[in-house]
């Protein structure tokens, strides 16, 4: 089943095509790897899907609904979560508060009840506290829950970034370079977490420069260059694809 359908998506910066006539499908339940050299348009693609950029042309269809041109908060509400390349966190807050505050979409009760701090509102808050702990437990951050997010080591900051994205209850999760800058042990931990998330039924699109990791976790890989799709296939097919090798290393004659 197709979860996300992208058709003819384009975004130019001045004369430069960051994403150019891109057609792409993400199937429910898979981990889709997105690779390409620097400037290939991977992060721009994420910014387009999550609503930070408005596409100039093309359509984005999520679960059968056209979400092209919606604002980021509307897209988050429809079930697309996202983690940032540089761990974007609420730095002044503890790990627990980060995720707790991130649970904005879970509140169903009225504003008045919240304002008056009624029993129902307190119950709702308690439920969210428990959900927060659940996420921290799954992500292995529970022992650090009272640490300030800004004080965490880089690897944990990235994990917290993913935890925050999980707090929006996404059905599609976009991860921008989740293991970049991590040491091998941390990277292994992250791979484990990512597959765990997939096993829970959340579809993932992962952008990553670490080839070993992306080959390991992806069910399918799409390679981009100059904003265009140059290859699509299973990990081993991609690693042998001539166009991909060329994009990364340059043409043979140039050597």
């Amino acid at each position: 089943m197709t979860l996300l359908e992208v058709r003819g998506l384009s975004k130019y910066f001045g004369g430069l095509a960051a994403v150019d006539q891109l057609d792409l499908d993400v199937f429910a339940g898979e981990i889709l790897g997105l690779i390409g050299p620097n400037g290939a348009g991977k992060t721009t693609f994420f910014n387009l899907i999550s609503g930070f950029y408005r596409p100039m042309r093309g359509k984005i269809i999520f679960e059968g609904e056209d979400i092209t041109g919606l604002k980021p908060h509307q897209i988050a509400k429809r079930g697309i979560g996202r983690s940032f390349q540089l761990a974007t966190l609420f730095r002044g807050l503890t790990v627990f508060d980060n995720v707790f505050i991130g649970f904005h979409l879970d509140y169903g009760g009225g504003v008045l009840g919240q304002f008056l701090h009624t029993r129902a509102a307190r119950g709702e808050e308690q439920a969210i506290r428990e959900k927060t702990l659940e996420i921290l437990e799954v992500m292995g951050l529970a022992p650090l829950k009272y640490e300030l997010a800004g004080n965490l080591p880089h690897g944990y900051q990235k994990i917290l970034g993913v935890s925050l994205a999980l707090a929006t209850n996404p059905r599609l999760l976009l991860l921008d370079e989740p293991v970049t800058g991590m040491n091998p042990t941390e990277a292994l931990e992250m791979v484990h977490l990512i597959t765990n998330i997939r096993d829970k039924g959340i579809t993932l699109v992962v952008v990553e420069h670490n080839m070993r990791t992306i080959m390991e976790i992806s069910d399918r890989i799409i390679a981009l260059d100059y904003g265009k799709k140059i290859a699509e296939g299973l990990p081993h097919e991609i690693s042998e694809n001539e166009k991909v090798i060329e994009a990364y290393l340059g043409k043979e004659e140039e050597w």
């Binding site: 999550s50 930070f52 604002k71 980021p72 908060h73 988050a76 509400k77 979560g81 996202r82 940032f84 974007t88 966190l89 609420f90 730095r91 002044g92 807050l93 503890t94 707790f100 505050i101 991130g102 649970f103 904005h104 979409l105 509140y107 504003v111 919240q114 304002f115 008056l116 701090h117 509102a121 808050e125 009272y146 300030l148 004080n151 925050l164 994205a165 707090a167 929006t168």
Partner: protein, 328 residues
């Protein structure tokens, strides 16, 4: 529990103050503190969303003039005019700042400044609003046959308005709305990613802040019984920022109150050296900002002894707060 007792005791002292301090001048100072606290808190609620308003004076003026004109020209009772003042101020904010916010926080800063200037100019130039020489003989508030004349009666009115303001802000900050504001303040783009409609939440904070500036303006008008447009100058907007800054920007309720108290009482303490007053005042403010960047309310955290007590307090509550966290 000790905290609750302390709060209750503080509240009792505030209620009983007019009977302890039987001096009209001191009560007048208290009234000023209460009034300015409300202006500062209005700044703070926007600052929580990392919006800097330079227009508190303007919205203060809208409230003051709305209430005055309603009472004097239309014979509206004070209490209704008080509410109308808040609503008028909130409406002006909604109409003008909703556009400013669309543009961004920096534009918001600039536009609040301009709006504040325009409001003062309009109040001075248009004869209907009393002109530059102002409006005199504004009626005092009444309940039935009781007229608010004494400083004591105004003290209770101001205390009531400030308490209402504090309670409403406290309830907002405690709720999910307050949490969304916190998120926006820490990182607007991440907040947006968590599904928070940053624009609407910021607009809400702005309108609420301006509503209370309007309420405060109404009180001011019927307390002074005189309105002059130049009262609502740019300096007054800056003062609203100073209250929050000196008290401590991260203390969204207590900060502006503490700051207003310092700003009102400091000149009084410097009265014996009146000719040097502005200099000492200025230097002291600079010292506070430089050496206490987190405001005077951060003093307990900065001194080891007091920090030790805070540690014990945290232990009693079962919170594992480390010294490292406290210092942050």
């Amino acid at each position: 529990m000790p905290e609750k007792i302390l709060k209750a005791a503080g509240g009792l002292v505030l209620v009983a103050l007019p009977f302890i301090v039987r001096n009209d001048y001191y009560l007048h100072l208290m009234n000023c503190i209460f009034m300015y606290s409300m202006l500062g808190m209005g700044f703070s609620i926007m600052w929580k969303n990392r919006l800097i308003t330079c227009g508190q004076a303007g919205f203060w003026a809208v409230g003051a003039y709305t209430s005055t004109l309603l009472v004097m020209n239309a014979g509206v009772p004070f209490w209704l005019a008080l509410l109308a003042a808040g609503i008028a101020s909130a409406l002006v904010a909604l109409l003008t700042l909703s556009i400013a916010l669309k543009a961004g926080p920096l534009q918001f800063f600039a536009i609040t400044l301009v709006i504040s200037f325009i409001i003062m100019q309009v109040l001075g130039v248009v004869e209907f609003f009393g002109g530059w020489h102002g409006i005199f003989g504004i009626p005092r508030p009444t309940i039935g046959s009781f007229v608010f004349l004494s400083k004591t009666s105004y003290y209770y009115l101001a205390l009531f308005l400030l308490s209402a303001n504090v309670f409403i802000f406290y309830a907002l900050y405690r709720s999910r709305i307050g949490r969304a504001w916190t998120a926006i303040g820490l990182s607007a783009s991440l907040a947006e990613m968590q599904g928070i409609d940053v624009y609407r939440y910021r607009l809400a904070a702005t309108v609420i802040g301006c509503f209370f500036a309007g309420i405060c303006g109404s009180f001011y008008a019927h307390y002074q019984t005189v309105l002059v447009p130049t009262t609502f100058s740019f300096q007054c907007s800056i003062f609203a920022q100073m209250y929050a800054l000196i008290g401590g920007l991260s203390y969204y309720i207590a900060g502006p109150i503490a700051g207003a108290a310092v700003m009102v009482l400091l000149p009084e303490l410097l009265r014996p050296v009146a000719e040097f007053q502005p200099i000492i005042y200025g230097v002291l403010l600079i010292l506070i900002v430089v050496f206490l960047p987190r405001g005077i309310l951060s003093i307990p955290q900065r001194f080891p002894v007091v920090r030790g007590f805070a540690q014990i307090g945290a232990k009693l509550k079962g919170l594992p707060i480390s010294i490292k966290n406290l210092r942050k």
